[in-house]
């Protein structure tokens, strides 16, 4: 019976589209083995889908009728899963992350009428693929400015700053060099340390490194390392409880909640926001409006694709105002930020002994 209804709805959809009435398009999210509850990328993409259909995590009433998710257990299932979704004729098929790019490059030309969205990739180059990329260096610049201003406000002598990355890649490099340029715009002589865990899911590595750094006088650590970064927050929490003035900086979503140690006090000073949900939302709206087209779409500070969070009350109003001013300067083009290590190094904006990678 349920299937009958579903068929009815689908038929209705087709008819509605033919008649030119704007109905809700159907969509499918394809994920890697971690699924939609990875507290990161997939989860954010899923949130965008839920927002579009007016559902929420606790109420997914349209799941299975308009949208659903399909998890691939192994990498060799990426291509079959993409082809299956295309066979089943969803209005939009969504994948996240560069690990999907090879599979999509192979499948997209075989289904020229199928629409795809890939997040964080800009080299697929197919007319039916929308590619969403983020200006991570802009958001990271903003949290760098915020952390440096906080150090100035707290009158910390010679504050040092740290960066912890997951697996080195050009994307993670954007976080690192953006952050450093942000800090240096306020404190031109600030010292930096960086570390790559080579893993997205090993918080113990980040925690050990963070302890080491905080002990040696590092004031704030920015982690762009998925689950690994939770180790930094855990260590910052421990030290703040003991009364040390150190901070962790969150990434992707607002991690203020993860850093709370008593009342409203959180060890996460601010978070660099990368709103992956914006791209799924924008793509779905484009499909609905019939204005979907392939090509690269950049999400930056201008269209609120990236930003910084202001939830922590210890990030003073004065600092927030100053960072907002910087943000306006970035939008206006008055501040430009080098997105690659090579460029930043050539301009002398970052130290030359970083472990960042441009390929």
């Amino acid at each position: 019976m349920k299937r009958f209804f579903r068929l009815m709805i689908l038929t209705g959809l087709v008819l509605a589209t033919v008649a030119g009435v704007s109905a809700q398009p159907s969509s499918r999210l394809l994920t890697d083995a971690t699924g939609i509850d990875d507290r990161s990328f997939n989860q954010a993409a899923w949130k965008g889908i839920l927002d579009f259909y007016g559902d929420s995590w606790t109420k997914m009433s349209k799941r299975g009728k308009f949208y659903d998710v399909l998890t691939a257990q192994t990498q060799d299932m990426y291509i079959p899963n993409l082809m299956q979704a295309s066979d089943e004729q969803y209005d939009l098929v969504i994948v996240t992350g560069f690990t999907w790019s090879d599979a999509l490059i192979e499948v997209a030309p075989k289904y020229p009428k199928q629409k795809y969205l890939i997040v964080d990739v800009d080299w697929v180059g197919q007319p039916n693929v929308m590619e969403a990329v983020y200006a991570e260096h802009e958001g990271s610049y903003l949290v760098g400015v915020a952390a440096a201003l906080k150090a100035v406000e707290d009158k910390v002598a010679n504050p040092k700053f740290g960066f912890i990355g997951g697996i080195p890649s050009p994307t993670i490099t954007k976080f690192e060099v953006g952050f450093i340029q942000g800090v240096r715009s306020i404190l031109p002589k600030a010292e930096f340390v960086d570390y790559y865990a080579n893993d997205w899911g090993k918080p113990e590595l980040a925690k050990a490194q963070a302890k080491n750094w905080y002990d040696s006088g590092v004031y704030a650590i920015f982690s762009a390392a998925g689950g690994t970064g939770n180790g930094t927050i855990a260590q910052a929490k421990e030290y703040r409880v003991q009364g040390k003035n150190v901070w962790a900086i969150g990434v992707d979503s607002d991690q203020y909640q993860d850093g709370i140690y008593s009342g409203t006090k959180s060890a996460v000073l601010t978070s660099m926001l990368k709103r992956v949900e914006t791209s799924t939302l924008v793509a779905l709206k484009a499909v609905q409006a019939g204005s979907f087209s392939g090509g690269v779409v950049t999400f930056d500070t201008k269209n609120e694709g990236v930003g910084f969070s202001t939830t922590n009350p210890e990030l003073s109003k004065a600092i927030v105002n100053k960072v907002e001013a910087v943000k306006k300067d970035i939008i206006a083009g008055k501040v430009t930020i080098a997105p690659t290590y090579a460029e930043a190094k050539a301009k002398g904006l970052v130290p030359s002994n970083l472990q960042a990678s441009d390929n």
């Binding site: 691939a72 060799d76 299932m77 890649s169």
Partner: protein, 374 residues
């Protein structure tokens, strides 16, 4: 003979046949899976129509037919069968090869290297890659066999450790290749790939490839070595009773080492089939593919025979490739793991069936005795 004793005989016969037990535990696994789907409030028909689509390509939900799904099913089964053969071969010699995953990884890595740096001559190129994978896998398994035979090092511990060594060594070595990032190497030349235009056309563009023949030949080789050669006889004798085999003049050291070499070679081939069949570039592994571990279950269900392992591999391959189709029908993806997990648990209960069987036999003997006493 009355009806009751006839039933008894049928049950006894069922319990004493390994094949019958395998089939019945699989059915039992499916039954539990079905009940589970009902329990979470989904329609179990979705599960079966997904399996039907995997096996036949027929999508009853949409009324379409696409043979590609059959090709993908067979393709998913290939590494499972090969890793199953690896586990099964060692098991026949009384060894527990939990290292098929590591042997798979070294095979995959060797194949990727030959694919990128080998001579680009058609046929010869992928043949060399397969050979390199078999040798690498055989070496990885052989080391364990030798340690076991020479120094009585537990093969379980040694293989588990070597799985980690293989994984990280593969990552490190692959990243040394020029043009490799943290995820992939440059693309393979076409001559290294196992894909075949005819198979591709027949299966409507699935990734099924020449690995199919590698698997068929491997099954035949397995059967031939175990059943038809002196080596196979010696290995089986060693597996059944090591001490008796030694007294019979069989060289156990040599036997254990060669058994692990052959087992490793099968797993190594599985790595090559996945690397050259399903991918067009070398991978820097981010996690285990788990074919080696799943091979353990395949061999258990297949009773460690060539034919049984092949059928069991096709079954597990079917579950793996039906999983996305089930998700598409809103059946939780975990159901397939629960089914395969239950099948393995039930298979391990074979020992329990034996106890039941023994008890029944004793009881009947007592009954017969009573009757003859009357």
């Amino acid at each position: 003979m009355n009806q009751r004793s006839l039933n008894k005989n049928l049950l006894d016969r069922l319990l004493s046949s390994d094949k019958a037990i395998s089939i019945s535990v699989v059915l039992l696994g499916f039954l539990c899976g079905t009940l589970l789907v009902v329990a979470v409030g989904r329609n179990p028909w979705g599960m079966y129509s997904a399996m039907l689509q995997t096996l036949t390509g027929l999508d009853l939900t949409r009324g379409t037919w696409n043979v590609r799904y059959v090709g993908e099913w067979l393709n998913a089964s290939l590494p499972l069968i090969l890793c199953g053969l690896s586990m099964a071969f060692a098991a026949r010699t009384g060894l527990f090869n939990i290292g098929a995953e590591g042997q798979y990884i070294v095979g995959l890595t060797a194949a990727q290297f030959v694919a990128l740096f080998g001579p680009q001559i058609s046929v010869l190129h992928w043949l060399l890659a397969l050979l390199a994978a078999a040798i690498a896998g055989g070496f990885w398994g052989g080391v364990v066999g030798w340690l076991k035979a020479k120094f009585s090092v537990s093969e379980v511990v040694a293989t588990i450790m070597l799985n980690y060594v293989a994984f990280f060594a593969s990552r490190w070595l692959t990243m040394l290749i020029p043009g490799t990032n943290t995820y992939r190497t440059p693309s393979f030349p076409a001559t290294a790939r196992l894909s075949d235009p005819l198979i591709n056309q027949l299966t409507n563009g699935s990734r099924l490839n020449l690995g199919l023949f590698v698997v068929i030949i491997s099954c035949l080789v397995f059967w031939f070595i175990i059943e038809k050669t002196k080596l196979g006889f010696e290995l089986r004798a060693t597996g059944l009773n090591k001490d008796a085999a030694r007294y019979a003049g069989i060289n156990i050291t040599k036997g254990i080492t060669s058994s692990m070499i052959i087992a490793g070679a099968f797993a190594g081939l599985a790595g090559a089939v996945v690397a050259l069949g399903s991918f067009s570039y070398g991978r820097v592994l981010g996690g285990n593919d788990n074919y080696g571990f799943n091979g353990i279950a395949v061999a258990l269900v297949g009773n460690s025979t060539a034919g049984g392992t092949m059928i069991a591999g096709l079954l597990f391959g079917m579950l793996a490739s039906a999983q996305p189709l089930m998700q598409s029908r809103q059946i939780p993806k975990e159901v397939t793991w629960i089914i395969s997990g239950l099948v393995v648990i039930f298979i391990s209960l074979r020992a329990a069936f034996r106890i039941v069987l023994d008890k029944r036999a004793k009881k009947r003997a007592a009954e017969l005795k009573e009757r003859s006493d009357e």
